[in-house]
Amino acid sequence: MLTLVVAGLAAGGAYAIFGVSIVVLHRMAGVVNFSQAVVGAFGAYVAAIGVERGWGLLWAAVAGVALSSALSIAIGLLFARLFSEAGAAVRTAAMIAVTVGLFAAGFRFFGDAPRAVPVVLPGASVSIGGVVVTAGTVIVLMIAIATALGMGWVLSSTRVGVQVRAISERPVVAELLGVPLFARTALVWGFTGFVSATGMLVVASNLPGSFSSLGFLVFPAMAAALIGAFRRLTLAFVGGIGVGVVESVSSYRETWSEYRGAIPFLIAAAVLLWTQRHEVWDAAR
């Protein structure tokens, strides 16, 4: 059982890192990014191609992360240009359309063949309860925790964070505050793109690494973000780890494992039933 808990940390860390990124972006830009994992997958694949072509691990990784960040910024600019005044539903719908396009583009560019996403830190590992926890897993967990705590602090306690939050709710205010659109978008979207790509680079090396399977990591990540109600970074982190661990543990008995695919949904549904037990009204009066 302990084996499974520890083994579930690897996947849980991946869910957490994307879940936290989704929440950060939602709080700072007001968009639920269904393409969070796909954008990371672009970076991981570019890094993989770079290694195949002999750019060297470091440069390939830098190129991949840079591409993901740039792609994320491009999406951010598109949203800032077209949807800054739109309601949440329209922005979400547009994000879904963009995600569908990115998946199709990914198939086109990379096919669905596996790529050896480079192992960033080979060798280093710790053994816990008979399970080897790779350095990658540890790093993913650390990035996720650092992002959750760090961004939580930035958002709640710094002037920049308060400003950015105000902006995400009222884009017009942003212009009045004199924060230039490009800098703001680049900062927020670039950062989440950077985190996702870094996380993806690390986790991709021990997951079945086809483009679509990496992109579909967004489903459990969304469950994690939902557990955090798209607001609480630490809850999203805990949710991601929780989904990963419960999935892993549930493979223990075959009768449970039949229903493993439903675990993110069941956890999210339970959390929702609890958190939404009081009627809550939409923001607009």
């Binding site: 396009g101 790779t134 086809s210 999935e247």
Partner: protein
């Protein structure tokens, strides 16, 4: 306001253009699955074009009987694949023996439904089949009639497969399907083929209906018999006691057939699995399942999945130090891309090969290799499937006396003699049965320092 709208429009149009341009231009160098090997000619997006060029306005196949009289000694042309009764040397003189003639009759239209775009690509089988037909056409075709292979992409989607099948049968009026390679084409089209009296010599069958249909007979072993034969290899050939199974290949419709594959091994051997577990999703991390297998005391684990799983499994074996167990992957693991990407980290990982292992260097592969190399087709297991399907189909065509129509081809397929070739462990058959799964054998390959080598030269053949 107006300005705002216009700039929005401009921005979106620019984005649209950029996306489309990128999409159409990118595939030249990045679409190839085994990246370093694939020649540009196999680009998925280009393959349908050459196939369609010889199309002629007259697509009625029925009125072609007179042309047959002009056929030059059809019986003299041997099948290009070495049959059991002919030794390997004969392969080389086949082209010489054939009377070079131009096949300028009305083309015999043959269909192929393959996954060329979307998730899970199989681009080699169709081009390999086409290479076989092109060689036949270059030496006079079938009684002066060239074979035209029309390749349709199903995009890996049921709608795409249904549309492709119907287009080939109804628009293009093909006489048969040859060398198709798709993850779900049989599931979608098998009933339709039965209805239309169309027969398919499947190059790569994956979904269960490929092996359960009256009108489809795949040349490959497939994932289900693949699991059974791998378990059989572990328990009988390797004589290991504690045999286990991990099911990672979680895509719609497959689960019951995998259960059936395990049940079949149990009834063949009278043994039962020490441990069995299924992944929840295709994108699951296999590590927890593999650790459980270790904890359950497995000596051999048959582990399925698609090509990407091979990487994850190989890396987990290395990272978690699980080399004490014999890990046997499905034939989907057996690709050069996996070998080179795992390198020595993958040492010991085994997989079943549904045909004579393509990298084995055995002389029985010479004709296939020459043909693939000259046509620029990468040497993969899928290319073997396409090549075999096309070769068997040519054999069936040559057996037809008289008109070549959908009906006569059906007759030829149904009365096909068991086709023996050293590329297959069991003879290929079709015939009138309700279900066909002729390939019940595999050889096993093992990863050593970034290369797949044949683990043992004997076929493992499932009994009766």
């Amino acid at each position: 306001m107006r300005h705002n709208l216009r700039s929005r429009l401009r921005a979106s149009l620019a984005a649209a253009l950029a996306l489309i341009l990128l999409a159409t231009s990118c595939s030249d160098d990045e679409d190839s699955s085994p990246a370093q090997q694939e020649a540009p000619a196999t680009d998925a997006s280009e393959t349908p074009e050459p196939a369609e060029e010889p199309a002629e306005p007259d697509d009625d196949v029925q009125d072609e009987a007179p042309d047959d009289s002009a056929a030059v000694e059809p019986d003299d042309v041997e099948g290009a694949v070495p049959s059991e009764d002919s030794d390997g040397d004969e392969v080389d003189d086949v082209p010489a023996e054939t009377t070079p003639a131009v096949a300028d009759g009305t083309p015999i239209r043959v269909g192929n439904v393959s996954s060329l775009t979307g998730a899970g690509l199989f681009p080699e089988a169709s081009v390999a089949a086409k290479a076989v037909f092109d060689r036949v056409n270059a030496s006079g075709g079938i009684g002066g009639r060239p074979i035209e292979l029309i390749i349709e992409d199903d995009g890996g989607t049921p709608e795409g497969a249904a549309t492709a099948g119907r287009k080939l049968v109804e628009q293009d009026n093909v006489v048969a399907m040859v060398g198709s390679a798709s993850v779900l084409e049989c599931a979608v089209n098998s009933a339709y083929y039965a209805e239309q009296g169309v027969y398919s010599i499947q190059g790569t069958g994956v979904d269960p209906l490929c092996f359960l249909s009256s009108n489809i007979s795949p040349v490959n072993t497939g994932p289900f018999a693949g699991i059974t034969v791998s378990l059989y290899y572990a328990s009988e050939t390797l004589a290991l006691d504690r045999v286990c199974n991990i099911n990672l290949f979680v895509i719609p419709d497959l689960a019951p057939a995998f259960d059936g594959a395990v049940a079949r091994w149990e009834s063949l051997t009278g043994k039962s699995l020490t441990f069995r577990v299924k992944a929840a999703t295709l994108e699951d991390d296999p590590t927890p399942l593999m650790l459980q297998a270790r904890d359950a005391g497995c000596e051999a684990v048959v582990i399925d999945g698609v090509e990407p799983h091979a990487l994850a499994v190989g890396r987990a074996i290395d990272a978690q130090d699980l080399r004490d167990i014999v890990w046997i992957g499905l034939t989907s693991y057996y690709t050069d891309a996996i070998a080179s990407q795992l390198g020595s980290a993958g040492n010991g990982l085994r997989a079943n090969s549904e045909f004579e292992p393509y990298g084995s260097g055995s002389p029985v592969l010479d004709d296939w290799k020459d043909l693939m190399n000259s046509a620029g087709v990468p040497l993969t297991s899928f290319a073997q499937g396409g090549y075999l399907a096309a070769t068997i189909f040519v054999e069936a065509l040559r057996s037809i006396d008289g008109e070549i129509t959908r009906e006569s081809v059906a007759g030829a397929v149904l009365s096909l003699e068991p086709y023996e070739t050293p590329l297959l462990g069991t003879p290929y058959t079709f015939g009138p049965g309700e279900a066909h799964a002729p390939n019940q054998a595999s050889k096993f390959v093992e990863l050593r320092d970034g290369r797949w080598v044949t683990a043992a030269d004997d076929w493992v053949i499932l009994p009766g």
